[in-house]
């Protein structure tokens, strides 16, 4: 029987960061809790924060469940996490600058060249081009899990356009509105500086040809995108325009936005569109979402694109294995955050191990996301395991496997009262002229008892994440 680290209770005692929450839960009868839960749901509905689930059918505007029981980190715990996250974000950006430059890490034999240069996410269109400040991934979302008081593991890196930060901000907003007393009794570091820092980060990477206060926009694929709410939410908070491809056009050496007062030059584009769709003249010719000619303007220094096209080569699940090596290679430091041991089915020894231990492992597609196309061995039937085995054998290079981690739990409100549920954490690290991390992140919780899959597309919920001031 696996034992799981409970972040609130250890050996029958309440851990320090959660001490004040114990009184809070005691003082809350079931009726009040239900009332508050209904109130929270109404607030989320009113704001319109919903999450569409890919490929599952059903209501695309379904509300992502919000759990009112906060997840808490002590200041000391966070300080260590912060150092580890920033270190990793620096290494990932150094890797990108390297593989689109001289490729020293490949020449040194520290990562197989095939994983880099034959990677679908490697964009030869930007080889040799160094983006402003040498930054490729401006918002790095690092998914972490915890297995003990001091044991944190990185599950994956998201270097392209990690979503979910609007939940971090909204969860806090709603908690403060519903439980103002809690925020008087606990000294919780604020997260509402995120949008200002994001704007500052984006403005700090304005292109060389920008000689004025940079104009920043968010480029969205449109309202049918599952994260559209977040795009418009962030645009509002930052006070910048939310645009679609058709609102922008290239003229001469620059990109312009159509406005009621005529064309306005755009300097920095925070794009929430995949590389393949941002410019039909450079990538997919059938894309209607992008801006024709954008890449020529970008590569000649007329506009900045965040994240930089090609940034995805740093966050694929096979490259992930080498991130600790990147930390050592570029920074000359030991990694503060550990990777989960990973077997690459593309290697024959690893494949053999994986096939022999399939029922114990978690297997994922190299380019998969959202918890789709994965196998959680211990939680699957024999038939499911066998069906997955056939998929792996048919295309081993497409899969990686990891041990089933004993994910920590935090107390969560459930129908029967309060019960431990498994959680992960996605903090959002901002990289521009400086590197910054707002104290908090998105905690996702697997609401089904015993489930280890926290993805919102698989029945996961979210929690407010606290970092205490001391």
């Amino acid at each position: 029987m696996t034992t799981y680290f409970n972040e609130m209770f250890e050996n029958g005692a309440v851990r320090a960061p959660y001490r004040r929450l114990e009184d809070w839960t005691r003082a809350m009868p079931a009726e009040l809790r239900q009332m508050k839960q209904a109130e929270a749901e109404a607030l989320f509905r009113r704001i319109g924060i919903t999450f569409a689930v890919y490929g599952e059918g059903g209501d695309p505007d379904r509300l992502i469940p919000f759990d009112m029981f906060p997840r808490v980190f002590s200041n000391a715990e966070w300080t260590r996490l912060e150092r580890g996250i920033k270190q990793r974000a620096r290494a990932l950006n150094a890797f990108l600058a390297d593989v689109y430059g001289r490729g020293e890490i490949v020449r040194a034999g520290r990562i197989p060249s095939r994983l880099v240069y034959q990677n679908e996410a490697y964009e030869k269109a930007v080889t040799g081009f160094l983006p402003p400040k040498g930054v490729y991934s401006h918002i790095v979302g690092i998914d972490l899990v915890r297995t003990g008081p001091d044991e944190f593991f990185v599950l994956e890196d998201n270097c392209r356009t990690p979503s979910g930060v609007s939940y971090m901000l909204e969860n806090r907003e709603i908690m403060m509105r519903m439980f103002p007393d809690l925020f008087r009794e606990n000294r919780i570091l604020p997260v509402d500086g995120y949008s200002g820092r994001l704007r500052h980060t984006l403005a700090s990477v304005a292109p060389a040809k920008c000689d004025h206060d940079p104009t920043v926009v968010i480029l969205t694929p449109g309202h049918f995108n599952s994260a559209y709410y977040e795009h418009s939410f962030l645009a509002d908070l930052m006070g910048v325009e939310l645009v679609e491809g058709q609102d922008l056009f290239v003229e001469g050496e620059f990109v312009f936005m159509r406005t009621t007062e005529g064309p306005k030059r755009v300097d920095v584009i925070y794009r929430r569109i995949d590389d393949a769709f941002i410019d039909p003249l450079c990538f997919r010719p059938d894309s209607m979402l992008g801006v024709p000619g954008l890449m020529d303007v970008y590569r000649s220094g007329g506009v900045s694109i965040c994240s930089a096209p090609g940034a995805g080569v740093a966050d694929d699940k096979a490259v992930y294995t080498y991130v600790p090596e990147m930390v050592r290679f570029y920074l000359g430091e030991e990694p503060i955050l550990q990777n989960v041991p990973t077997w690459q089915c593309g290697k024959s020894d690893d494949l053999k191990y994986v096939l022999d231990h399939l029922a114990e492992l978690v297997v994922k597609e190299v380019h998969g996301s959202g918890g789709y196309g994965m196998l959680v061995g211990p939680k699957s039937t024999a038939e499911q395991v066998e069906a997955f085995r056939a998929r792996i054998v048919a295309d081993p290079g497409n899969y990686i496997a990891q041990p089933t981690l004993a994910l920590s739990t935090t107390p969560t409100f459930v129908n029967e009262g309060i019960a431990p549920r498994h959680v992960d954490l996605r903090p959002y690290c901002l990289v521009g002229e400086t590197i910054e991390l707002v104290p908090g992140g998105l905690t996702r919780v697997a609401l089904t008892e015993g489930s280890l899959v926290v993805n919102s597309s698989q029945g996961g919920g979210v929690k407010d994440t606290w970092v205490l001031a001391e």
């Binding site: 060249s113 010719p285 024709p292 303007v297 007329g302």
Partner: protein
């Protein structure tokens, strides 16, 4: 050899369009096999955009035209001094690692027949001999015949037809070279059509294969040779679309008609 190029591309729209944006790879880059003496590209009413040399060593130049406009003419003219290097791309500055060109794209994706054709490269001893054998095999398998294939024909489809043009030869050559573990890419350029009765297209395309120790080497299965002093190299890519000398999009509902005239002459004859 001193070659002169006159290349006119005329786009006409049956209804005026609001604007046009293009990305050009229309300027030859310098390497030991070609020296650009003079070269001009113009676009009617066009505003030049960003200009830079990309990681493949190609000159890229953006252009935009503000509408309404019903016709756009792209005119290229210039003179290039060429040398026969037996296809070797010597002295060409580029930074993309050759391994990047092992990736397949839709037009070059192999099928059973391409895999079969690729076995003609086996047992040749070295990579250079393999590439020569593959080029001959592609030339044997796909006869030159204009009009049977189109811009979107894949290597597999052309091979099934057994006929095609230089684009089809190049796609097939890329596919079979990659199947033999050799990085390969599509090259677009010009060919001086000598009056020797050989069927050529003046706007031409061929393949480059990367051979360790030698570098990139051109192969032109369509003409059963390696590029020599009759060839002017413009740019490269994974496939025809990626290496296209002009990529463009018009904003507006007008249907586009295209007319291309290319003349490549030897100036010192």
């Amino acid at each position: 050899m001193l070659l002169t190029v006159d290349h006119v591309t005329r786009y006409t729209y049956d209804a005026p369009v609001r604007g046009v944006v293009q990305s050009h790879r229309l300027t030859p880059s310098q390497f030991d096999g070609q020296t650009v003496l003079d070269w001009q590209v113009s676009v009617t009413d066009g505003q030049p955009g960003g200009r830079f040399r990309d990681g493949a060593g190609d000159w890229v130049q953006g252009y935009s035209v503000s509408g309404p406009v019903s016709e756009i003419v792209v005119t290229v003219s210039g003179r290039v001094e060429t040398r026969d290097l037996a296809g070797v791309l010597r002295g060409h500055k580029e930074s993309i690692p050759p391994e990047v060109y092992l990736r397949d794209t839709a037009p070059t994706a192999p099928d059973v027949s391409l895999r079969e054709l690729a076995t003609r490269g086996a047992g040749q001893g070295d990579a250079l001999a393999t590439a020569h054998a593959l080029s001959a095999a592609v030339a044997d398998a796909i006869a030159y015949r204009p009009g049977v294939t189109h811009a979107h024909t894949t290597a597999a489809e052309a091979l099934a037809l057994g006929e095609g043009v230089c684009q089809d030869h190049a796609h097939a050559m890329i596919s079979v070279a990659r199947l033999n573990g050799l990085p390969a890419r599509y090259v677009s350029g010009y060919l001086f059509a000598a009056a020797d009765g050989t069927p050529h297209e003046a706007a031409h395309a061929w393949t480059e294969v990367f051979v360790a120790g030698l570098g990139w080497i051109g192969f032109d299965p369509a003409n059963r040779c390696c590029p020599d002093e009759r060839y002017i190299r413009l740019g490269s890519g994974h496939d025809a679309r990626d290496a296209a000398p002009i990529r463009g999009i018009a904003r507006g509902p007008g249907a586009e008609a295209l007319d291309v005239a290319v003349a490549v002459l030897a100036a010192d004859q």
